[in-house]
Symmetry: C2
Subunit: 294 residues, 2 copies
Amino acid sequence: MQLIDGKAISAQIKQEIAQEVEKIVAAGGKRPHLAAILVGHDGGSESYVAHKVKACEQCGFKSSLLRFDEDITEDALIAEIEKLNNDNDVDGFIVQLPLPRHINEERVVEAVDYRKDVDGFHPINVGRLSIGLPCFVSATPAGIIELLRRYNIDTRGKHCVVLGRSNIVGKPIASLMMQKSNPGNSTVTVCHSATPNIKEICRTADIIIAAMGNPGFVTADMVKEGAVVIDVGTTRVPSAESKNGWKLTGDVCFDEVAPHCSYITPVPGGVGPMTIVSLMRNTLLAGKKAIFNF
Amino acid sequence: MQLIDGKAISAQIKQEIAQEVEKIVAAGGKRPHLAAILVGHDGGSESYVAHKVKACEQCGFKSSLLRFDEDITEDALIAEIEKLNNDNDVDGFIVQLPLPRHINEERVVEAVDYRKDVDGFHPINVGRLSIGLPCFVSATPAGIIELLRRYNIDTRGKHCVVLGRSNIVGKPIASLMMQKSNPGNSTVTVCHSATPNIKEICRTADIIIAAMGNPGFVTADMVKEGAVVIDVGTTRVPSAESKNGWKLTGDVCFDEVAPHCSYITPVPGGVGPMTIVSLMRNTLLAGKKAIFNF
């Protein structure tokens, strides 16, 4: 069993990005600039955005954090997005989700210029991903693909079982794994809350990508000997052992599953750090106008 | 075994559409108008477009056929598309594919205003389909869903195996079948040219959707007793029996597979007629501005 060390890989990628940024700047180019919009004071969102700002520093990016009160109107938020769309200094930006209930998230997502949509949530990027065209790939699926690539994991013709059909993980990672590409070219099965026989299907998987947000759902009896297990779950579970009173818990019972795997990601330290680094990679691509050159 | 009669269902739907159109017109509304661009003189394309024009008549639509020579430049074609984008009388239009080799199909597809993209090929419509937002669903997958709906076929929690990962059938039908909707809510497996054990996987399927373009690929030994089989294949195979020298052949060995099925579509007369009628339905929706209201 080999542990997939997302923390180490993500540190390495940040270093690669930082080196490229310094080359760009040395050649007289522009330092990539990521902006983030944060509405309200949700603890999880505060922490995610803080991590993103820190990662920008590590990559040598310029970053801007725009904070708005919980009660900002939808129209006012859209107006702020328009400002960023039109700000030539900003290469890419994100609107940290979730948003307060009175704001229509889909309208907000579609208001972002798709050429600056480094989260890859705009329908144009989602559609281009499905078709197989260059696009901003959303961060978590992009991070998973990068882990498979860096560990040289053979995916061609393998049976990849995706648990979960969310718009930000399950559906896009299924799209990527079935594409005629490497990593990719897998036979892909998507299971979800309406699947009656998930255990049985998982037992046929060469690769399991668990993205249900259901702590400890994947148990040893569901995993074939030698399978690759990618755990996308990051649920905060109360814990007496940790200082802050909770710990991040994956969808996989790591201790019992790991001995059966050829490769497995831990939680934390697996997919999580890769998600942020994929956002950095997208920002670099946006800065270079490598996806949309206009 | 029950035969799924796409010909009868499509005739019924055309009648329903025609009735709705007459109501709209009687109330002073506008008759839906579909335009089609045909480049060159490919026999298959000529025949498809002729069928579409005829279906427009049956539905009470206005239709326009714009023909261009094989050697039209890409820029000239894009200019024609812009004219249709800006023509307020045209509710929806299609560019018949394939295009001559010197023309970049993807650029052409993206030039179509997504609000008039009744083929559902524009990345915005593809992305919205994946996300689960209102959109123009491409015609063949929409036709399959409509057949499942009209025959009240239970899809929830069923294992649906899709053979083929094309952008116009395999990928979008996989998306639709996994959505939390009815029809839908299936566990979906997508198999393709890199899948080593298609036969084995098919044997576990409650629903097989065959869209490989590989005549007679699905044989009796691949089909579970009581399965639903949807045959999307329409390959022209030379035939001494038919007047024109060929016959449309599906991906399924109908005669040997049918006795094992609960439901099966024939070729011709199954999915094919539904494809055209789905295009008509999209045109009606475009005319009513029911998907994009601006």
